[in-house]
Symmetry: C2
């Protein structure tokens, strides 16, 4: 009856079928884009990413044109991260000097650069001395005044972003409140909160704390914050992610508050780093002292740093280089060494960080080109869409077209049908027995084709019924049968499988009714109706399917859901190509359905309670919701699915599903996450409810299917 | 300029001055009301409370009219809590017996009682065998079916409430989900979740656990729940409040979900019990085995039980008696003993629980009658109101009328003025010196009167300026001065004190500009304007004031705020007569203002971070927001205020203020609560922002005064 799959990524705007539902537009530019320059170079088939631009952090400089010319034009950087105000400025000193001065002591006017130069090439670096949580009230007021003045100036210049200094202490509520206040009135500018990528592991605590102190101090991070990291606090609290988390919770996940991560020479554990990929990281600031030296004296990065940087590139995170040059590049290095370095630059004019930039460019260009599938899916990353309702609505031709192109899926079906035919009909009886195979939800015929190919491959005789409820698809089906000359083998039935009176019973029932979450397009209910005409010993392909969920950090998705400002969107499951998410624990199975199922007390309602344990080296984490997947057993060992650990490769019919939480839940290390999911069935609809009970109870989501349901 | 105080409780509907603001109506009936009967008897001046009705818990009885006649008509109970369905009923057994039966096996029809009998005299007791979190799926489904059927039947009968059995285990998400689903579709009925009043203290753990088991088992609480209380769990988790808390968080504080507390013979600590007074407790079920025996063989309660029951009476909690009679009342007890017992009842017909009921009635009648002030304030308990905006708006005559009646307040002012006059003018110069006293915000003149009385009392000469911005009040002020013959002493100035050009400077500046939270009606800003015309060594009365906050549990207030379904109401402070709240920790001071203040760097902005520690024997608690108070020093040791530990007695001009939290925050024992409050000043308005940072960060409330502010 209904066509195969869940999700039509080519025609997404036409698939929002239930409820008044606005599909969000593609994410707009997130960072600084250099307009004229090429950035880090070309990467096969993928030069649209913002991560190909690289910036440089600078000191305060009166003469902004000279600063740009020095760092950009001749040196290869795409933008500067530069202070906008003299670092000696203090509002309280100023007033003391000359009574009431409302003129700000800026170095230059806005006229020194063109508007497009300001916005394309300059990120405003907010004065690092500010400390809004200082005990000193005058200093605190000075900090607040300066912060507001600098951001107002940056807004006036139409900068795309400002870099906010790291909080100087663990308790930074006043800083966060002030930033939150600024965010309420900000037009388009992004605020990048600078946070060191830092987490002390329990076992490395004693060994590393001194190193950390020296490392962090090079970043200008305040003493209190250092103390927070280096003394008497429990393991869980020495984690800069927690600092970020409090800050953004106080600012309520504001979409213009994002992250600039300082990359140090020591990296935390992989699990701990993984969390940041679910956060709005816009920039990674790489310090020259994080670089190693290769055999020829050039800067390079450790393997784990390389992996991290590549990961950032894949998530459109821009690089910024920072610090003094620490490598003495041999002047005559024009030989074969370091072939990634641009050799045409006059060594006299070389920017002191040029060799670092070259190395970053080399890492960028070295990346694998995107596959065809990745390129197609690129625009759909982290883009929320409503699941299909194929039972209530008829699919459109373009939707069929897209799904039919997923050859991997039909190859699996064909393999399953082959095995079933061989089991059903021994070789000796191949010419005597005709197997009755019914495709329920035949659409425009791809499973009919797979069945006939399987029959040919195995030499079995087949009689096919193609049952389809969509009259528009049936038209095409008729023409296909005629075109292929299948008239003697295939009978087309234009009917809902739940209502059809079959003239005979089937040996094999083939369907592709699965959604991203397995049963979410009501395959169980459809097949319950269809199994009336399956022989008692008949085979259903698929024979079973199971759904899976997994807790994720997904700031982007959470913010997109939140932007609707209503309950309905928080109680809806979305189909989405997950990309900028952190998967916090392995997925676990939830609901399984087997077909056929002739038991008398059968119910399609389900309830499952799950305990997730987040690996202890992850640290604390925030759960914005749950990623959902499925895996289906078509027949015996032939399976099909999108559960990450066993996903069928190169299949594109399904993206994951996302169940949001109305309030993100923070999970401390060692504290289990207890989650409940229900599949509920009414007379006209099926829906899910979900909630969390540990570490703290959430409300029931989607009670009685009030916000989201699938119609029968 | 502006009149004195915050809150006019007689004319509250006219005081909602800012924003489109709907004042909530008085709470409607919360429980079961017997219409014809007198209940527990009369209490001086306070017979409207629902707590004067007492019910009895019964077994299942086919013949409902007989059940009512036995327990009510002749026995003195007001209602029964009775099972509606045969306890042997199991849907799955029924189906097995006779195929498809959709007829429910109810004992009688709805016709056996009149509709008003059903709704006034019967609370439906849901079958206690149900267990929606059983591992046994059939049993779980039976439980869900039965629960839904029984509540549907109770709704059909228009019962006012049903008693839900205690959760049988600590993890009760499926039970809560099902109840939540029912609540979504329920019209008016209340669901009372039965919870034992039970919390094991750390030190009494080993000693008491057996006792607890035997006690709880008499209540029909399931084994798993017992295990939860008696084995291997940490101290914090052996607390039935946590069970209630998870349940209602999952049901999202639904206003129709309330509590029936089982009172056992052992009571938890006073702090722990205190939490329940912020919860929607509707009924206390007192078991016969909680009673002691007095010297004459009659049932009575321990002192701590008496105190608890009296507390419940004061909070409109109804009593229900439960259990078998355990006291053998001497048949000939007609003597002087137990004079609270009704002696006119024929002992043959006496209900077996009659002596327990008599004792409860005795406790009720023994209570202190309400004071005049309490009676007036009764209707305003837990009733949210918008604070006044006297600076932006002119008060009405009735508002002045109300505040002027608060004689205690003016006596304090008079005392302060006396002391100031004596300090200012030594006895020897009493006739030589005329003190210039200015009342700023004179209203209709009460402070002028207090000043003149103070002058008379101390024999000092006074010249009074009465400055008032409200022209309507000035009219009355003129007539008062004429009536009293004060023309030679009092000069009336119709002007805003911030704009007035005073002809001379004052020795003493008197004002009553304080709100419930001290500075929240902009006393600081007004007095900043007025101190221009105070002599350098002049006195301001008040000379200082400080605000205080305190974390509270306040389900009722939280639900009333939530019912508006918008952000604005969660970011507003309300004036409210706090009653059904639990004060979780002693209040702490926040903002202090001193007058006069001639310092040059003066700012009326404030920021304070507070740490509250909830006493460890309280257990976990939920914080719905913060109660705010003030205390003012009028002059030297004369103070005035509403901070509970030092409140001025018999003063009614101010109720407390309530700052809600958008998401209630659960605090575990031993985990500090860190709270931040800001007083922010703009050019046209003043506002507060607030947030919590520990145990977990909340968003900033009322950023930039977007929801709630006080206009300048």
């Amino acid at each position: 009856m209904c066509s195969a799959s869940t999700f039509n990524f080519l025609f997404s705007l036409s698939v929002c079928l239930f409820s008044p539902f606005v599909i969000l537009p593609f994410p707009s530019g997130r960072g600084v884009k250099a307009r004229a320059k090429m950035g880090l170079g070309e990467r096969g088939g993928w030069d649209k990413s913002e991560s190909r631009y690289c910036g440089v952090e600078t000191e305060f400089e009166d003469d902004m044109p000279r600063l740009l010319s020095y760092n950009l034009s001749s040196s290869g950087f795409d933008f500067v991260v530069a202070p906008l105000m003299d670092p000696t400025y203090r509002p309280s000193l100023l007033e003391a000097e000359n009574g009431s001065s409302h003129v700000l002591p800026f170095a230059g006017s806005d006229l020194v650069l063109s508007p497009s130069q300001w916005s394309s090439h300059v990120v405003g670096k907010i004065s690092t001395w500010i400390d809004l949580d200082s005990e000193d009230e005058i200093f605190r007021m000075d900090s607040e005044t300066t912060l507001k003045q600098e951001i107002a100036w940056a807004s006036h210049l139409s900068l795309q972003a400002c870099l906010l200094p790291s909080p100087k202490r663990a308790s930074c509520a006043n800083y966060a409140r002030c930033v939150n206040q600024i965010l309420q009135g900000l037009s388009n500018m992004q605020l990048w909160l600078r946070i060191p990528l830092l987490k002390t592991d329990e076992d490395s605590l004693d060994v590393d704390s001194d190193d950390l102190v020296s490392e962090v101090s090079t970043l200008g991070v305040g003493l209190d914050f250092l103390e927070f990291f280096s003394t008497k606090y429990a393991y869980e609290e020495r984690d800069s992610w927690e600092l970020w988390n409090s800050f953004r919770l106080i600012c309520e996940h504001h979409s213009q508050l994002s992250l600039a991560l300082d990359i140090l020479s020591t990296l935390p554990s992989v699990n701990s780093i993984g969390r940041w990929f679910g956060e709005p990281v816009r920039v990674a600031i790489v310090h020259t002292d994080s670089f190693l030296t290769n055999a020829r004296g050039y800067p390079c990065l450790s393997k784990s740093h390389q992996k991290l940087i590549t990961g950032f590139f894949n998530h459109s995170v821009q690089m910024v280089l920072s610090g003094k040059p620490l490598h003495n590049i041999p002047a005559e290095s024009t030989g074969s060494a370091a072939n990634h370095i641009d050799k045409n630059v006059n060594s006299v004019e070389r920017h002191p960080l040029r060799s670092y930039l070259d190395y970053v460019g080399y890492l960028y260009q070295r990346m694998e080109p995107l596959s065809e599938q990745e390129r197609i899916e690129l625009g759909y990353r982290d883009f929320l869409q409503a699941p299909l309702q194929p039972l209530m609505d008829n699919l459109e031709a373009q939707t069929y077209e897209t799904f039919e192109k997923d050859s991997v899926k039909y190859i699996q079906y064909q393999r399953a049908i082959c095995k079933a035919l061989l089991d059903r009909v021994p070789d000796g009886k191949a010419s005597a027995i005709t197997t009755v195979l019914m495709v329920v939800g035949a659409g425009r015929g791809p499973l009919v084709r797979a069945a006939l190919q399987a029959a040919e491959e195995t030499g079995r005789k087949l009689k096919v019924y193609a049952v389809e409820k969509n009259p528009n698809a049936v038209v095409t089906l008729h023409s296909l049968v005629k075109l292929e000359g299948w008239e003697n083998v295939v009978t087309i039935v234009s009917c809902d499988m739940r209502l059809w009176n079959a003239p005979e019973k089937a040996d094999i029932l083939v369907s592709e009714l699965l959604g991203s979450f397995g049963d979410n397009e009501l395959s169980p209910e459809c097949l319950d109706g269809a199994q009336r005409f399956l022989k008692q010993d008949g085979i259903s392909i698929p024979s079973s399917y199971t759904s899976f969920i997994q807790p994720i950090t997904a700031s982007k998705l959470y913010n997109d859901v939140k932007s609707h400002k209503d309950l309905v969107h928080f109680e809806t499951a979305y189909v989405v190509k997950l990309h900028s998410v952190a998967k916090l624990a392995p997925s676990q199975s939830i609901f399984t359905f087997n077909h056929p199922d002739y038991s008398t007390k059968k119910s399609n309602q389900r309830y499952k309670k799950l305990h997730f344990v987040i690996p202890s080296d992850t640290g604390s984490a925030i759960v914005h919701g749950f990623a959902g997947y499925f895996d289906a057993t078509l027949y015996k060992d032939v399976h099909l699915g999108i559960e990450p650990s066993m996903a069928t490769p190169n299949m594109f019919s399904w993206f994951a599903i996302f169940f949001p939480l109305r309030q993100p839940i923070c999970v401390q290390p060692g504290s289990p996450l207890e989650v409940h999911f229900w599949r509920c069935c009414g007379s006209t609809k099926v829906w899910y409810e979900w909630c969390v009970t540990s570490p703290r109870p959430s409300p029931i989501h989607n009670s009685s299917g009030r916000s989201y349901w699938v119609g029968l």
